[in-house]
Amino acid sequence: MFPADFAYARARSLDEALDLLDEAHAAEEEAKLIAGGQSLLPMMKLRLAAPQVLIDIADIADLKGGDWNATAIGALTTYRQLHLNGSLTSGIPALADALAVLADPQVRARGTIGGAVAHGDPAADLPPVLLALNAELAIASSAGKRTASLDDFLQGIYTTDLAEDEIVTHIRIRTPGASGSAYEKFPQPASHLPLAGACAVVRLRDGLIEGAEVAVTGISPRPYRARAAEQVLVGASPAPDVLAAAAEQITRLPDGQELSLLGDQHASAPYRAHLAEVLTRRALAKAISRARFAGMC
């Protein structure tokens, strides 16, 4: 299978990439950015995407590497680089969990953290972890820079807040202090995409849950924060019945309404929702267990 014909340009710097985006926009040509291409190229081969111009940003050195604490992680950092660099996953076991089960080693060698958020896939592994960690995105255009919370950025199926002339440049998270976190997924066996996945971040204080973030992927048009479930947890005891009561709220919005659910040939919407509830319970139990040991050695 080949992608549909397109014209290719490689950007050597962020400014050059932004210029190319502006020029394509002015020429009324549909342009797409490519970094690892592990989601975009399969879609192009199936003609689900057929950009007229492909702008390769993989060589932009300023968007690679970095550090969660000092600045931020460059959008071009690959899953493999994140996974192999223990300092980037230290204290964030949910991130290490997700990187270990995300696609397969070959895909992880090419796919990037920026692509994971900019692609807007409803069933990606990293967005729920980044949502639970309150991630912020740095976004550049030739008009200037802005930041957006990932929660505001993700909008729907392959739909984000990214404008045609913008590039996600960095991702920032605040490494939580003495907390535990975990990511659990149930993969589709061929694609390894999650039929459902859940991330939990839990902070304990005096034996009670002081704070909790829960995020889910794979079951709705976009990965989302399960705030109704979080409300059940805060201030409660980290007991199995509390975790079960929180997980029961996984498809409920804080106003009591039900979330819009997705199903497809691989799994129906009710089955995905059931998986999300079970996985949330497991992720919470693991996160609490890790929180009890956090900072002990």
Binding site: P3, Y8, E23, E28, G37, L41, V53, D56, D104, Q106
Partner: protein, 177 residues
């Protein structure tokens, strides 16, 4: 509205080093790396299996990391280094790569279609984890499918190759068995 010509090309010159040999090929921009290797450079050891990033038969080494060459554009490899299954043995000494030798010793291939991709993926696995457990091997090979379902001997060959490499460096693997 004035139309601006975007400086982008439908035909691209790809300069890539493959198995230590520099090549320059002009190809349509949409050419996939696996087709450059197979159809232009005639390196047909790299196979196309599923063509959807799932089976791993097309696995090659790109700049020191195993990747699926059906999901990399040839032009993305411009200026980079590729190693294929044809480039890992040592013909001067007449020896196979340790993973190839282990596949032979453990009879880790049946029809052979997945074998080049398996060998390239295992080469990466052992570089990353010189002393893997059986469980780690099975997880690390999650991106490679053997349609003959011959995983038992593929895993055995991987552990065999890792032991051979570890034995050459130091004490025997204490985690085996």
């Amino acid at each position: 509205m004035e139309r601006v010509q975007v400086p982008a090309l439908r035909e691209v010159c790809v300069r890539v080093t493959v198995n230590g040999v520099p090549h320059a090929c002009t190809v349509p921009a949409r050419t996939l790396l696996v087709h450059l290797l197979r159809d232009r450079l005639r390196l047909t050891g790299t196979h196309v299996g599923c063509d959807t990033t799932q089976c791993g038969a097309c696995t090659v080494d790109l700049d020191g990391a195993a990747v699926k060459s059906c999901t990399v554009l040839a032009v993305q490899a411009d200026g980079h280094e590729v190693t294929t299954i044809e480039g890992i043995a040592n013909p001067e000494e007449g020896t196979l790569h340790p993973v190839q030798q282990a596949f032979k010793d453990e009879h880790a291939l049946q029809c052979g279609y997945c074998t080049p991709g398996m060998v390239m993926a295992i080469r990466q696995l052992i570089a990353d984890h010189p002393d893997p457990t059986q469980d780690e091997v099975r997880h690390a090979l999650s991106g490679n499918i053997c349609r003959c379902t011959g995983y038992q001997n593929i895993v055995a060959a991987t552990l065999h190759a890792a032991r051979a490499a570890t034995g050459a460096r130091g004490p025997a693997d204490k985690r085996e068995g």
